[in-house]
Symmetry: C2
Subunit: 210 residues, 2 copies
Amino acid sequence: MTQVIADISVSLDGFVAGPDDGPDRHPLGIGGERLHRWLFDLESWQAQADGRERGEEREHPTSADIMGDFFARTGAAVIGRRMFDHGEKAWGDEPPFHMPVFVVTHRPLPPRRMSGGTDFEFVDEGVAAAVRRAIAAAGSKDVAVMGGGRVISSCLAAGLLDELRLHVVPMLLGGGVPLFARPTDPSIMLATARVELSSGVTHIVHRVIK
Amino acid sequence: MTQVIADISVSLDGFVAGPDDGPDRHPLGIGGERLHRWLFDLESWQAQADGRERGEEREHPTSADIMGDFFARTGAAVIGRRMFDHGEKAWGDEPPFHMPVFVVTHRPLPPRRMSGGTDFEFVDEGVAAAVRRAIAAAGSKDVAVMGGGRVISSCLAAGLLDELRLHVVPMLLGGGVPLFARPTDPSIMLATARVELSSGVTHIVHRVIK
């Protein structure tokens, strides 16, 4: 059965992108490159981004194990419009997803079919509709909610997530886009299923208790 | 050489106490009891609180290992005035510290010598002065900065910490006292030294890189 899995890197002070983020200056905010460095260094990420078979992971086997499984299981993605706008230029003609991507937005655009199997569809009926469409597109695979913070916290608040995977990087961003911007709901129950320390990042996998 | 170690429980949404905290209603804020449940359940905490030898830990050996070492190594504590005011009544005549405790405050009180070896001293010259006095009092042991969030983040910002130990509880407090209330300094570098998943809590030990 398809699982809906949020997956995001977060700083110790709770930010998923640094300050002053924008497509032309700092797509990930100031310091955001460092937040994602552990990911960009992975062979399994580079293989996913290039849409090719994953080679041998020599450097970071723990992170590779965590992320390789995740990429292999994912059949469709959900992202926010801000993430789309900030990433679009950097992603270029062949974005790193290689799967259908549903963009949650109040300002829908026509669908975009990119090279390498990434199809962007814009959903203006809220996060639940975007997740529903992603589940339909994922077939027997899982749905990844990849960010930003607002989409992930909205999905958690709406009871749409099965799993919340945080990659905690021991750095302080000092500002930017918080993972939890609005008050969270204390009645949401989670359980930590797996914790792994790798180089420069701690992976924490939470199951949402339903 | 004496190490200065901050040690605190934090919710997934970054709070160290829940909303509506106050000495007469919720000393730890709404939900704060749950945040600390993993600790209160430990034999090593109960032994520390009672000022007696630690017995066998049957239930939570990982947390007991993490906290038992910490208690054994600690010779003096630093806390904030808010934590003192909220805890004072609950702690009673024999507070759980059993060591000198330096309270950072703008409104100093006369020293208080309590049963069981807890001496409260009130320091109105800032966190650095409080840590300096705690180091002198700790002898060959370590200094624990036990909270709240403001004292810990001030110590981190002032370069006073050697170690930041976070006990991350997979719950959402939805509000309350944040660990990082004010903007943090991105130039502060940390490295994750140890990560342990125990029941209901993930222990993450960071070294501050100097």
